[in-house]
């Protein structure tokens, strides 16, 4: 009996979660404003309660999928009794309603984590942070309950079986990609909440940035992995070997990533130097706003698809309202509360401060460019100026030079000191790296195959510049006090002395270099041939011989497939077999290309089966994609760098110091906290 009521139970849990989120949003804020400790302390139990009920709701929906309860409309539309169990569980987020529920669950999870790990925060700060997250939660839960309820039943005519999950989604990619991406999107709500709490509480010193930095890094790392997984999934799943399409949906994830990258850097400046304070708050608002904007663009169907959600315009309107309210309110609070006092720490033309300023400006320009290209067709259409398309040629034309410019300064950044760096010293330290980068970048393509390409040379040059300047920095930082054997030991000891935060930076920057190598190589040295083959035929592509030895029809669990068997050989090397397929999913009637992949660190072989041609031959697309794995490898390195930096002892030490401060909390100390700290408000 209880099992039959699971959807209702889930629905009820969702309503309770909303009630708690509302309490979490209101009570602690009032408490903080009126200085009532008990009211402020209300935030934590409400956060836990909200999360608990979200988990219950989520588990109820998952159970409906696991138990094939097709009386639930969402299950009936996205599952099937024959679907393997792991796809049933991930089909929960296979479409709109469940995705939004996952969004809400993850938001609850982040709030829960903040309430657990930030107990050392000043009471009022924590109360405000959780309250802001409560507001966001309330908005989203309202959205789910009013427009996208996943627990809706189809009664009384329950379908006997579900209409199956889209075959494209029956893949490992669906299991990992959306949760990672959402962890990133939603994770930026934490830094947003910290910024808002700092604004509301008038504590716009550097302290909030120190608390927010680890959270921001973690969210950013998740988003990085999420985007990389999406790119990888699209690469092998969609069948034409592209890894980035500048599709609005992709751009929606890139936007918060770019803004988040700028944010990570500006948080560092604000924390270390107390400068750029308003700017950092603004970036925190922007980053989360872009997450919300991405959600709006994807969910409302304004940009991509008429089929998406046109039947329910209330969703688009609701999300737009939510977006307008969140961003509008936060920007208004920013305009109202942002300190007028300018921080007046000085720095020179060449300094880490100014280079980070350059980084921020460039990243913001990149963000605006992607945003502009993504929404421009919509803007023109709204003005009745006709329909245009903005696609890869536009984005590539602008993004590539901007990235190049960014990398140029990125090589200087880690070596420059705060405040002021004599140009001569910087030049001396980097001269060797620059010369080596130029020489190797010019020489390497010659080794690779002789064909010269400006794109590859430029890409390699930038990547090498990043790598070599970092190497130089590590080398200089570990320079031992003595020469000789003792010196070598000294170098090792010094190497150990470098902090995780430093290694995180190195790894992150190296990751970008690796990705750039991948992009440059695969974009310019990609070999692609469309060929026609019949069993017994063979063809030579890029030094490999592809011989079709067999072609047969195969019955899969829920599809029929035409399978080609290719023996791939290379003179002087062993061969291997590749089996590209063309599948026809019987339940949904959808054809799918199942690509045969032979991955490698330096090249992928990629074979897709096309159509049957007039005389019984088959068309095949054979591609050799050099260094394509480096794209995602670099992204993983970036994410790892972001996480490594979080491990820095500094945060723990600071936390201890804050705790000590709080124990000694006196009215005077609190008063002092409200003021702008003396070193910056001379």
């Amino acid at each position: 009996m209880l099992i039959r009521m699971l959807p209702e139970l889930g629905h009820f849990a969702l309503i309770l979660a909303l009630a708690m989120a509302l309490l979490q949003a209101v009570v602690p804020l009032v408490g903080a404003a009126t200085r009532r400790p008990l009211w402020m302390a209300f935030a934590q139990p409400m956060t836990w309660g909200q999360f608990a009920f979200l988990v219950i709701a989520y588990l109820c929906l998952t159970a409906s999928f696991a138990l094939d309860d097709f009386s639930v409309a969402y299950v009936a539309n996205n599952s099937n009794s024959l679907l393997p169990w792991y796809y049933k569980l991930s089909a929960v987020w296979g479409s709109h309603e469940g995705s939004v529920l996952l969004w809400g669950l993850i938001l609850g999870g982040w709030s829960f984590a903040v309430s657990l790990f930030s107990r050392r925060l000043p009471r009022d700060m924590l109360a405000r942070v959780l309250a802001v997250m409560g507001w966001i939660s309330s908005g989203f839960l309202l959205f789910i309950l009013l427009t996208s309820n996943p627990f809706e039943r189809v009664l009384p005519n329950v379908p006997s079986d579900g209409s199956d999950l889209n075959p494209l989604l029956q893949d490992f990619g669906l299991i990992v990609h959306p949760p990672m991406l959402y962890m990133g999107y939603v994770g930026f709500s934490v830094v947003f909440a910290f910024a808002m709490a700092a604004l509301l509480g008038g504590r716009l010193d550097a302290a909030w940035t120190r608390w927010a930095r680890p959270w921001t890094n973690i969210a950013w790392a998740f988003l990085t992995v999420g985007i990389a997984l999406g790119s990888w999934w699209a690469y092998y799943e969609l069948g034409w070997g592209g890894w980035w399409f500048w599709d609005p949906v992709e751009n929606a994830s890139l936007l918060p990533w770019l803004a988040g990258t700028a944010l990570i850097h500006s948080l560092a400046v604000t924390e270390k130097r107390g400068t750029f304070k308003n700017w950092t708050v603004l970036l925190a608002i922007f980053t989360f706003s872009l997450s919300l904007l991405g959600t709006f663009l994807v969910r409302s169907g304004v940009l991509t698809s008429v089929h998406a959600f046109a039947n329910d315009p209330s969703r688009g309107t609701f999300i737009l309202g939510l977006l307008g309210l969140t961003v509008g309110l936060s920007l208004a609070i920013f305009a109202w509360r942002a300190p007028r006092v300018q921080s007046l720490a000085g720095f020179g033309w060449l300094s880490r401060d100014s280079l980070l300023l350059v980084n921020n400006i460039l990243l913001v320009v990149m963000t605006v460019t992607v945003l502009l290209g993504t929404v421009y067709p919509l803007l023109l259409d709204a003005l009745n100026l006709g329909k245009i398309s903005v696609g890869p040629p536009y984005f590539n034309a602008l993004f590539v030079p901007l990235t190049a410019l960014l990398c140029l300064f990125m090589g200087l950044g880690p070596l420059a000191r705060w405040k002021r760096m004599p140009g001569r010293e910087l030049a001396r330290r980097l001269a060797l790296s620059a010369v080596l980068a130029i020489v190797i970048a010019a020489g390497l393509p010659l080794l690779y195959g002789g064909s010269f390409s400006l794109g590859v040379t430029l890409g390699l040059l930038l990547a090498l510049w990043l790598m070599l300047s970092l190497a130089r920095d590590v080398f200089d930082k570990t320079r031992p006090a003595h020469a000789g054997k003792a010196g070598r030991r000294g170098r090792l000891a010094n190497l150990r002395k470098l902090t995780p935060a430093y290694w995180g930076m190195v790894l992150g920057h190296l990751g970008l270099a690796v990705t750039i190598v991948g992009v440059a190589m695969v974009s310019h040295y990609n070999v692609e041939r469309n060929v026609r083959l019949a069993p017994g035929d063979s063809v030579d592509v890029a030094g490999y011989r592809f011989a079709m030895t067999d072609f047969r029809e195969r019955q899969g669990p829920n599809y029929v497939a035409d399978t080609a068997t290719l023996e791939v050989t290379r003179p002087g090397r062993g061969g291997f077999v590749m089996q590209p397929e063309k599948r026809f999913y019987t339940a949904s009637g959808m054809p799918m290309t199942d690509v045969a992949l032979r991955p490698g660190l330096f090249r992928d072989l990629y074979v897709a089966l096309g159509e049957e041609l007039d005389n019984g031959d088959w068309s095949l697309r054979i591609q050799l994609k050099p260094f394509v794995r480096w794209l995602w490898l670099g992204a993983l390195m970036m994410a790892a760098g972001g996480l490594l930096a979080v491990l820095d002892r500094r945060y723990r030490r600071v936390a201890r110091r804050d705790a000590a401060l709080r124990r000694a909390e006196t009215p005077a100390a609190e008063l002092n906290d409200d003021r702008v700290s003396p070193e910056i408000s001379r």
Partner: protein
């Protein structure tokens, strides 16, 4: 990440075109022509599909358009002529690379303007900050500054080295 793309595809009525890429054999004797064919079919957008170039799409209209592109390339038309021929039939929508005109100057111009403005902001910022560094301090301020700087460098040494 083409891939909350899946979300759209779920709701797509003709999702098949996205799931199976177009593979077609167009043979050009001249490799330069082959390169132009590939570039053009990537730059032209399928008017019927979700968001795909005619090179990637499997829909019948894309096949027609590809055939037309190949035919015109063999006939010796320039890229611009071929693009124009497509635009005059299907509208500006089919070009992924929007042409610079009265409607798109903002699209193409804003990023460049922002780079310039950004450069100006940086310059203004640094010039003001530099002056600040050199601003005259009285003895008391100087003493405080030095104390602070000493503390800062200590901190920095502890925190970053």
């Amino acid at each position: 990440m083409a891939v909350i793309r899946w979300l759209l595809l779920v709701c797509l009525l003709v999702a098949s075109s996205a799931a199976s890429a177009a593979i077609e054999i167009q043979h050009f004797d001249d490799p330069a022509l082959d390169g132009r064919y590939r570039a053009l079919t990537e730059r032209l957008r399928c008017p019927k599909c979700q968001n795909e170039s005619i090179g990637a799409s499997n829909s019948p209209i894309s096949a027609d358009m590809r055939a037309r592109v190949a035919e015109r390339l063999r006939a010796g038309d320039s890229d611009a002529e071929i693009e124009q021929a497509m635009i005059s039939r299907f509208g500006d929508y089919v070009l992924y690379d929007p042409r610079l005109d009265a409607r798109t100057w903002l699209l193409w111009g804003l990023p460049f303007a922002l780079v310039v403005v950004g450069g100006g902001v940086i310059a203004a910022f640094v010039i003001r900050r530099r002056r600040l560094r050199h601003a005259d301090l009285d003895a008391e301020e100087r003493r405080r500054l030095q104390a602070l700087m000493a503390r800062h460098t200590d901190d920095a040494a502890k925190e970053t080295s």
